[in-house]
């Protein structure tokens, strides 16, 4: 039922300059590595990217950044990237910082048809500038709006031809909400499996949210390898 791509170039080729793209992942975990690389190759420019982080200098969204394809970044933490810093300081890149939980909820709201909601995060901080503050039961909250995108890129461990997705461990992170908020959502899956292999009670992203899928092999780079020595 869904478009199954056989090349990542094909999967991203309809994306035009000035598109807004949401990308799943937390740090380098759960990012759609190959879709990002194909986007770099596509040379599409002037993108607005919505993602919790912006990769590192030589991996993930950092590659798009290095290639100067991003005009604006909406995220919660962008601290692992020197090129990011340079572009911001030189005015090449616009940044909109949003508290992480607010970002997650704004994306969920966007996908769920909720135009705006109130949250305590950011009251009394620079984030509140220009935003409505309102009291409920004596506590102050900020009005935050839903976020949607022209395209959403997510990565899942397993997917089927109905578009159903299952994520692995903390590679789930932002992916389920991002899958709901793109006009077109493309999933990079580690394994495309038969629908019978997907238990309907275990599906994290119902297929309705997904327009295309592609199977790929990920490097899964580790940012901070922390191990315990054998006893």
């Amino acid at each position: 039922m869904k478009t199954i791509y056989t090349s990542f170039q094909e999967a991203v080729k309809r994306i035009e300059d000035y598109s807004t793209i949401m990308v799943g992942g937390f740090g380098l975990v759960g990012i759609p590595e190959n879709l990002i690389k194909a986007l770099v190759e596509s040379e599409v420019k002037h993108l607005t990217v919505i993602s919790n982080n912006c990769g590192v200098d030589d991996w993930g969204l950092g590659l798009l950044l290095k290639n100067k394809q991003i005009d604006k970044m909406i995220g919660s933490y962008v601290g692992e990237n020197k090129e990011f810093e340079r572009q911001v300081l030189e005015g090449e890149l616009e940044v909109e910082l949003t508290p992480q939980g607010t970002l997650a909820e704004r994306i969920r709201a966007g996908g769920a048809g909720i135009p705006a909601f109130y949250t305590p995060a950011g009251v009394g901080t620079p984030i509140a500038e220009g935003k409505e503050v309102r009291s409920f039961d004596g506590k102050e909250y900020l009005l935050q709006t839903g976020l949607t995108a022209d395209y959403s890129f997510v990565r899942a461990a397993k997917g089927d031809r109905y578009g159903n997705l299952i994520y692995n461990k903390t590679a789930r992170n932002f992916n389920p909400m991002i899958a709901t908020a793109g006009k077109v959502t493309i999933a990079e899956v580690e394994a495309l499996v038969e629908p019978e292999e997907m238990n309907p009670d275990h599906i994290h992203t119902p297929g309705i949210y997904v327009q295309g899928l592609i199977e790929g092999i990920q490097e899964k780079r580790i940012e901070r390898l922390t191990v315990r020595q054998e006893a």
């Binding site: 937390f26 740090g27 939980g101 390898l225 922390t226 191990v227 315990r228």
Partner: protein
């Protein structure tokens, strides 16, 4: 080298004191940095669940080399394992837990704390802004918010102030401050000194704190 060692020892001292905040049965979020260290000192008999805002309820110990799973990290992006009884969830669900105040305790780092409980810990004007990550949500997201930090900055100036000079992370959110010198509670009547660390006097604490400090009637001296 001596300074380095001192720093490490100071951090350990703060982390060990912070560990006493954690009661058996608690759900706890530990911030990135020194707060993460607190986990190393949790007494074995305590049954606690550590939450990681990237979608893990039940952080386990660090993995052995052959256990490393690149899909399994904590919010500090370090490889971890899952504890018995753990579950994974999306970031939206994870912050629903946080925002909904289902956590008992969050222990976070701080740059400045004001006497009204304001916290600044995410940006210094003029310096590159890395982002607040989950901090602005977490300060509203636990029944008790404990800030751990050095009592004074590297220039020897107080970090506990009448009002914060840095942009805030949260307004009126801090319940308790634990430093290398003292434990101070934020109350409706202002800051209350409740514990003094080994090697320090009440007067020294007062001198190195900009805000007025009430001294608790049940003050503990040399408590850690």
């Amino acid at each position: 080298m001596a300074v380095q060692l001192d720093k490490a020892l100071t951090r350990e001292k703060i982390a060990k004191r912070a560990e006493r905040e954690i009661e058996s049965g608690y759900y706890v979020n530990l911030g990135i940095g020194i707060p993460t260290m607190v986990a190393n000192f949790i007494q074995e008999q305590k049954e606690i669940v550590l939450q990681s805002e990237n979608g893990l309820l039940g952080i386990g110990r660090s993995p052995y080399e052959d256990e490393v799973d690149p899909d399994l990290i904590n919010a500090g992006k370090e490889t971890v394992t899952a504890a018995p009884g753990a579950s994974y969830c999306s970031s939206a669900e994870s912050f629903a837990m946080i925002r909904g105040e289902h956590l008992d305790l969050a222990i976070l780092g701080g740059m400045e704390v004001a006497e009204n409980g304001d916290l600044a810990n995410w940006m210094i004007p003029g310096k590159m802004i890395k982002g607040m990550g989950g901090a602005m949500d977490i300060v509203h997201g636990a029944k008790k918010i404990v800030i751990i930090m050095d009592h004074v900055n590297k220039h020897g100036a107080p970090k506990i102030l009448k009002s914060c000079t840095l942009p805030l992370t949260g307004k009126g959110v801090v319940d308790r401050i634990i430093t290398d010198r003292a434990v101070i509670d934020v109350t409706d009547e202002g800051l209350v000194l409740v514990e003094v660390a080994e090697g320090w006097t009440v007067d020294e604490i007062k001198e190195s704190t900009e805000s007025d400090l009430k001294v608790s009637e049940s003050l503990l001296n040399t408590s850690y």
